[in-house]
């Protein structure tokens, strides 16, 4: 298989890679760039654990090929905190105990940030619907809803984040 030369811009840093054209964005982030915060739960777009932001939108990184993202601005969980300060969603997840094993957490948080920015965190029912692409087998859902609702208020006060 001929390798493709690709530049991936992740969390503000550009990296030149020779990449297998079959490599998903998820596997490239993890196995080539060593960014292990993004998780693989199903590898077929069903669980949301691999959610990242591509040009500000939430994307399932297991469902898209790395080579398709030259020039895109990719943000992973590692790029969310600013100068050591947690993003309000990260902080809210700790305060509301919105995680247990932590494996789905990166994806939940990336989805939650986008969910608030999209304007889909108006009330608890809306949050439940728009966060339903991210499965949590530990069953932390009630606390996830509470965390997203709380973070939405903080983000509104401190917009734009």
């Amino acid at each position: 298989m001929t390798l493709l030369e690709t530049t991936l811009r992740v969390n503000g840093t550009s990296r030149r890679l020779e990449i297998d054209p079959r490599a998903t964005l998820l596997d490239a982030l993890r196995e080539r760039l060593g960014l292990m915060g993004t998780k693989k739960g199903c590898d077929r777009g069903e669980c949301g654990a691999c959610t990242v932001h591509v040009n500000g939108r939430r994307v399932l990184s297991c469902m898209t090929l790395a080579a398709m993202h030259e020039g895109d601005e990719i943000t992973t969980i590692e790029g969310l905190a600013r100068e050591g300060t947690l993003h309000p969603v990260q902080q809210a997840f700790i305060e509301h105990d919105a995680l247990q094993c932590g494996y789905c957490t990166s994806g939940q948080i990336m989805s939650a940030v986008a969910c608030v920015r999209e304007g889909h965190a108006g009330d608890e029912d809306e949050i439940r619907e728009w966060m339903s692409g991210n499965l949590c087998r530990c069953g932390a859902y009630p606390n996830i809803v509470a965390a997203v609702a709380a973070a939405a208020q903080v983000m509104e006060q401190h917009a734009p984040i």
Binding site: M1, E31, C42, Q100, C101, Y103, R128, G133, C136, A140
Partner: protein, 709 residues
């Protein structure tokens, strides 16, 4: 024995956010598949697609010649490994050791290559021809072949004259109840990274039991256990699937040894459906006899579940009836049917979590038959002692649970007539059930050290799978030593640390917590001998005595269960809403009150119980792994076909803990809660569905078509 810590405590019993929260929200928590390694190779399994037969021909030529391939392991070139005893092995059959195929999804090859993409492609090129043999994967078609299975509880128990009591009882409920095959679906697929160095092996593994993995791998590979180090810093959920040791762990270690380079194997989501067990379906027969006032005269509970051809796995679905309600005559019986599938395994909540489905729907039926409120019926049959063994309970605040949860739910406002409560087109149902869960305790050891800066380090090999152990153990040590919890940290998940049991059976807080309590107490005594006074900085105490650190080892062993029957309890109330034309049941509210000993951390405890309730919602309404009986395989090995609850399936979940200290279960006064939350929820929902619709469903999950008139 150490006495129960006297209140007031500063950390135990006080809500505290997770000390590992920051690692987890930052993506820095390192799970097995995240382990870095030089020259790492990748392995991907190829699986059999028939349930029974033998491999006639295995064509690995194309796979071997694919780019980047290092080796294709099959039964023809994988070294012969020792059989592994169960436990710790989840199943006795180890693949890649012969041409026999005993279940669909059994590995037939492990393709190893330099990159993940190359390994996955190579695995897809492996071609097998089989000599097929007749098979049967459906235990319900052969219940007459049920036999007694050997496992860790008694198969059969009997007290009183069940036959006579049933014959004389004026009310009789005799029904069959069914639960479905289910899968754990931990969000983290099982993963193993194996590295050999000078004849010693390090495994970074997604496991609930690092010592079990060490034992199994050492046995299979015929090396001393001391040469195997197993680590699990964080596991992405387990729920039973990572409790025992399964073939992928052993085979990864063996393949890495052959290749002489580090090897990572991560199971695919589809492979997870056949790689590490499942919760069996059950066929439960309940025969209950009662007086007209609902007083029980006899309970006969019989359960049958499937297991593999090569192992006995018994799901004890008549277990709860032994201990839950007072009745003069109780008989329980368990049988298994051997089918052409992999070996089942415990899943949250094993045994009682499945057994209570039949028993608690049957009790609801009895309540309606006798014309008594469902809660009142439970109170009339409240067991003061274990009705089968006659022993007192080590602690039991179930009566308080019934009261607390009923009040909070508003149960007294219920109109018991089915269909009586509605809001426009929506029929509302209220149902309740009891929860009961066995208590499992395991020996554990721990070390607690004060360092020169006054910081405290706990060392215990236990695993963090989401329960909050990185927070709960520091709470215990902080209280004993009189330091703030932020000053305490724990090193865990490593066989080089003091040995503990597995993270299963809701046992960790009791077992490891008691060992930490012991070690911290010994350390406190040594510090006092050094002249430490209350609230003195521990670092100062050390420097005064010319030391850089001070450690104490502690241990705890449960000993014999002895004179007590040990369980945790709960009372669960659920509300469902069912549209009258399109009767999809939706859970709109759950309230549970729990009797589970002393609660160390109300924050993480509440979360864990809520998680259990979510499992109950899945069990009641969503989760079922259906098999195609003609192909002998699961229809949906994925999360689109196997439905686990999503956020929008889950309403507000209220958790109440009854005040309780169980000094008999552990010196901490604590018991276990990991599984309890998943018990009783499904039957409460099923009973609520009856109340809403008047349709009595005796089979889970409840689907729309069962409610269509």
């Amino acid at each position: 024995m150490i006495s129960v810590l006297a209140p007031p405590s500063r950390a135990i019993g006080v809500p505290h956010e997770r000390l590992d929260g920051k690692e987890k929200v930052s993506g820095r928590a390192c799970y097995a598949a995240d382990t870095p390694a030089e020259r790492l190779a990748y392995g991907v399994f190829a699986l059999a697609n028939i349930p029974r037969g033998r491999i006639a021909q295995l064509d690995v030529g194309r796979a071997e010649h694919a780019a980047g391939v290092l080796r294709i392991f099959t039964h023809e070139n994988m070294p012969r490994l020792n059989p592994v005893s169960s436990p710790p092995a989840g199943q006795s059959l180890l693949p890649l050791q012969s041409d026999r195929i005993a279940y669909e999804g059994q590995p037939i090859a492990l393709a190893v290559a330099a990159t993940l993409e190359q390994a996955a492609h190579a695995a897809s090129l492996v071609r097998a021809e089989y000599e097929r043999e007749p098979f049967n994967v459906d235990f319900r078609t052969q219940l007459e072949r049920a036999v007694e299975g050997q496992s860790f509880f008694e198969s059969d128990t009997r007290v009183g004259d069940v036959e006579r009591e049933l014959a004389q009882a004026p009310i009789r409920i005799a029904q069959r109840y069914r639960t479905a095959d289910r899968h754990h679906c931990a969000m983290e697929p099982s993963a193993t990274v194996a590295r050999w160095e000078n004849g010693s092996l390090t495994l970074d593994d997604a496991t609930q039991y690092v010592w079990g993995v060490r034992m199994a791998v050492a046995q299979a590979l015929d090396i001393a256990p001391e040469r195997v180090r197993v680590r699990s810093s964080y596991a992405g959920g387990g729920f039973g699937s990572k409790g025992y040791v399964w073939p992928h762990q052993v085979l990864t270690a063996a393949a890495a040894r052959e290749l002489e380079r580090p090897l990572k194997v991560v199971l695919t989501r589809a492979q997870a459906f056949t790689a590490h067990g499942y919760q069996t379906a059950s066929e439960q027969a309940l025969d209950i006899g009662a007086e007209r006032d609902g007083t029980l005269r006899a309970v006969r509970a019989t359960s049958i579940n499937p297991t593999s051809r090569f192992d006995d796995y018994v799901e004890y679905c008549a277990l709860s009836a032994r201990s839950l309600y007072a009745a003069p005559a109780i008989e329980t019986r368990h049988r298994v049917v051997h089918v052409d599938r992999s070996t089942p395994t415990p899943m949250r909540a094993p045994h009682d979590g499945v057994a209570m489905v039949g028993l608690e729907i049957a009790m609801d039926e009895l309540a309606y038959e006798a014309g008594i409120d469902s809660l009142e019926l439970r109170l009339r049959n409240y067991a003061q002692r274990d009705p089968t063994t006659g022993k007192p309970f080590s602690s039991k605040e179930l009566r308080a649970c019934y009261r607390l949860a009923a009040e909070r739910f508003g149960w007294s406002g219920r109109n018991p007539r089915p269909g009586a409560m509605r809001e426009g087109r929506v029929r509302i149902g209220w149902g309740m059930a009891t929860a009961l869960m066995g208590t499992f305790r395991m020996p554990a050891s721990a070390r607690v050290t004060v360092e020169s800066d006054g910081r405290v380090l706990i060392e215990a090999g236990t695993q963090e799978i989401g329960t909050g152990v990185r927070t709960i153990m520091p709470q215990i040590a902080a209280d004993v030593l009189g330091v703030p919890i932020e000053q305490v940290r724990i090193a865990l998940g490593d066989t080089t640390l003091p040995e503990t049991g597995g993270t299963f059976g809701s046992s960790t807080t009791m077992s490891v917590g008691s060992a930490v309590l012991d070690a911290a107490t010994r350390l406190r005594d040594e510090l006092r001998e050094l002249g430490a006074h209350e609230d003195e900085d521990l670092g100062a105490v050390l420097s005064r005595s010319g030391r850089t650190s001070l450690s104490a080892d502690g241990a705890w062993s449960p000993g014999e269960e002895g004179d007590f029957s040990m369980h945790t309890f709960g009372a669960v109330f659920a509300e469902v809403r069912v549209d009258e034309d399109l009767p999809i049941p939706r859970v709109s509210r759950v309230v549970g009150a729990y009797s589970a000993g002393r609660i160390i951390n109300p924050t993480t405890a509440r979360s864990q119980i809520q998680g259990g309730m979510v499992w109950g919602i899945g069990q009641a309404l969503l989760e079922e792994s259906s098999m195609d009986p003609t192909l002998g395989r699961y229809l949906s090995k994925n999360l689109a076909g196997y439905l686990v609850p999503a956020n929008a399936d889950v309403p507000e979940l209220e958790v109440i803990f009854a005040e309780e200290v169980d000094a008999h279960a552990s010196p901490l006064g604590a018991k276990g809660i990991g599984e309890l939350g998943a018990v009783g929820v499904a039957p409460a929902i099923a009973n609520a569905v009856f109340h809403a619709t008047g349709v009595r469903v005796r089979e889970l999950p409840i689907r729309l078509e069962m409610l269509l008139a």
